[in-house]
């Protein structure tokens, strides 16, 4: 199989852009990543052995670019730590229990009846978009890319315990956001 770089944009542009956008959620960043992917692919095209399809090869390069982008995001200092407000009682004999006003409320059974429910999916997407960038990066790698936690730690340079705390906080935030949007 031979590479046809002159047709990459036409043949794979939308696919690669969709791949990048669904992970980074910014049009400009997704476009930049696709561009970087094409440039890297052109530089290393002599290494293409034709064992996989052109699209699979390009996607693997793009996936690497997305992870690099995430790494940069997670090393940036941001205010996600400060902006997290725990839904648990902070002190006293009931420390660690749910704050009543922020405790999970039973969801309508329809939430899990139909996996395709557009409304629920829409709320979930909006909530994902509102997560701090470094939290979303870890969440996407874990739950959409289905990467193992030690692999994520290796890529992003974080400890396993820190990773679980971020995943836990992200989940708490996501659950609460979905609940507000879903039950509204």
């Amino acid at each position: 199989m031979e590479l046809t770089p002159e047709n990459w944009v036409e043949n794979h542009g939308d696919f690669l852009f969709n791949f990048a956008y669904s992970r980074v959620r910014y049009r400009q960043v997704a476009e930049d990543l696709v561009q970087e992917c094409f440039l890297s692919a052109l530089k290393s095209r002599q290494h293409f052995r034709g064992e996989s399809s052109e699209r699979t090869w390009l996607t693997a390069i793009l996936k690497r670019k997305v992870i690099d982008f995430y790494r940069k995001q997670t090393t940036k200092s941001d205010s996600s730590e400060d902006s997290f407000s725990s839904p648990f009682i902070k002190e006293g004999p009931f420390q660690g229990r749910w704050l009543r006003e922020r405790s999970p409320k039973p969801w309508s059974p329809t939430a899990d009846e139909h996996l395709n429910q557009e409304e629920f999916m829409g709320v979930l997407k909006v909530c994902l978009d509102h997560l701090p960038e470094n939290w979303r990066a870890i969440f996407v790698l874990r739950f959409i890319e289905e990467m193992e936690s030690d692999e994520i730690c290796k890529e992003l340079g974080c400890s396993a315990s820190n990773l679980w705390i971020i995943i836990h906080r992200t989940r708490l935030k996501l659950r609460e956001c979905v609940e507000k949007g879903w039950l509204k």
Binding site: N18, L42, P104, A111, D112, F143
Partner: protein, 100 residues
């Protein structure tokens, strides 16, 4: 009396998981194997805490939708390049191809 009650609650808290600890274990349980002690503590907590039972159910719902979201977005090509973006990218590729 209230002092004794507080001491009793503090003692129980040491034995039992808090909701914070239980929800962390729930988030981990799908991906790492919990030790026998932690698993038992979690089960005991879930028996008595309705909020955490709801949290567990809702986590499953969110998980299944997240997994589904990834595959739907990939299959449907939800987001596409604009014509301008395509032109820009094509120019970059062409420029690189024509480099001596």
């Amino acid at each position: 009396m209230s002092g004794m009650k507080t001491t009793l609650i503090k003692g129980l808290n040491k034995l039992m998981l808090t909701c914070d600890g239980a929800s962390l274990l729930m988030d981990q349980s799908g991906f790492v194997k919990l030790s026998c002690i932690k698993w038992t503590q979690l089960k005991m907590h879930l028996m008595v805490c309705e909020f955490c039972r709801d949290y567990l159910k809702q986590s499953h719902i969110i998980n299944s939708h997240l997994a589904h979201m990834g595959s739907v977005e990939a299959k449907n090509l939800t987001w596409k390049l604009t014509e301008d973006q395509k032109m820009r990218l094509a120019e970059v590729v062409e420029k690189q191809l024509n480099k001596p």
